[in-house]
């Protein structure tokens, strides 16, 4: 990705960090996946850009529910 197209995804990454430092910090690490949901979001935003990346991160968050198996699930 070029520097210009990377800007929106970096905005997304900044939002994830905002979450991490505020509400994320309030709860002990609870993710059942590895990498954790927030880490997954950062990686997928970097790799796929803002739209596709955040869609993938959103889908991951939905999968991170008490009925799923969890486990090793890297960004593809």
């Amino acid at each position: 990705m070029s520097a210009v197209t990377r800007v929106p995804s970096l905005l997304g990454v900044a939002l994830v960090w905002l979450w991490r430092l505020t509400f994320g910090a309030l709860f002990p690490t609870t993710c059942k996946y590895h990498p954790s949901c927030s880490e997954y979001a950062v990686q997928s935003l970097r790799r796929h850009g803002l739209v596709k990346g955040s869609a993938r991160a959103g889908w991951r968050l939905l999968r991170c529910n008490p009925w799923s198996r969890g486990g090793f699930d890297p960004v593809r």
Partner: protein
């Protein structure tokens, strides 16, 4: 504010307005207690999720010794350690205790409550003499927490309850993380002090719920038989009182003390190496 013009936020605020209004007008609770009631309703809705969590926590406790072994084995490589743990969960059908969704579900409630309290006057057309106090020590749930001494009391209760709830929610055995989460509320209190007191009330209530839940869970877990840890102590030979013919077999573990004793200094040395590398 720009954020409040985003449609989803105003919709959230609308829903919260109706819920609070229901508790205040239909059930007759004071405004502050309506917030407490709303919090309890949210937590009751989340109960099915927490029951799942309790079950998986029990499963985790059962397999704790094996997991500790994995953690020890891959001590140097955190990434590998996590991957192996996840594999172990899969193989043993364990659902790791918590997940992100229940935690995330509380965020919309929080945002909704924030905006509802912010626009309290216009939302509910309250006059100057409307009772917005809570338990006689907080004069107004709408004002900033630090505007009255009662707010400071609430903040202290918040820190205590947050620490206690972190204690019960904690699933990691990592010491660094554990201390981090215990210290975190001390920093967060500076941010939360700027919020309306009603919002802090929400946090305190939800934390106290978590603590209560944790206490009940601990009792329930304690009732189930604790997993018998297989101790490899070599001092006590396996019991075989009746069968005298097995006496020769019981000699097998006896040569163990020597290697375990010799391993100790080695472990210390390894630790030193690791610290020097990083």
């Amino acid at each position: 504010m720009i954020v409040s013009t985003i449609p989803i936020f105003s919709q959230l605020e609308d829903v919260m307005k109706h819920v609070l209004n229901f508790f205040h007008s239909n059930i007759g609770l004071p405004w502050a207690w309506s917030i407490v009631a709303t919090t309890i309703v949210v937590r009751v809705i989340l109960v099915p999720l927490t029951i799942r969590q309790i079950h998986s926590m029990q499963a985790l406790q059962k397999h704790a010794p094996q997991m500790k072994e994995i953690q020890k084995k891959y001590k140097q490589d955190r990434q590998k350690q996590n991957e192996e743990l996840m594999k172990f969960y899969r193989e043993n059908n364990i659902n790791p205790a918590a997940s992100c969704l229940p935690m995330l579900l509380q965020l919309p409630v929080f945002i909704a409550l924030y905006y509802t309290l912010k626009h309290f006057q216009t939302n509910f057309h309250v006059g100057k003499h409307t009772d917005l106090s809570f338990l006689h020590f907080i004069p107004s749930i709408q004002a900033h927490t630090t505007t009255h001494w009662g707010g400071y009391v609430l903040l202290v209760v918040y820190v205590a309850s947050q620490m206690a709830s972190s204690f019960f929610m904690m699933t990691t055995t990592d010491k660094m993380q554990r201390t981090l989460f215990m210290v975190m509320p001390l920093f967060f209190v500076f941010i939360i002090a700027r919020f309306p007191a009603g919002l802090v009330l929400y946090w305190v209530t939800t934390n106290l719920w978590t603590v209560g839940q944790g206490l009940i869970t601990r009792r329930l877990v304690a009732k189930t038989p604790a997993p018998a840890l297989e101790r490899r102590s070599s001092r006590t030979p396996p019991k075989d009182d009746g069968s005298s013919g097995n006496g020769a077999k019981s000699e097998a573990p006896s040569p163990k003390p020597a290697p375990s004793a010799s391993q100790r200094p080695r472990q210390v040395r390894r630790k030193k190496k690791r610290t020097s590398r990083r």
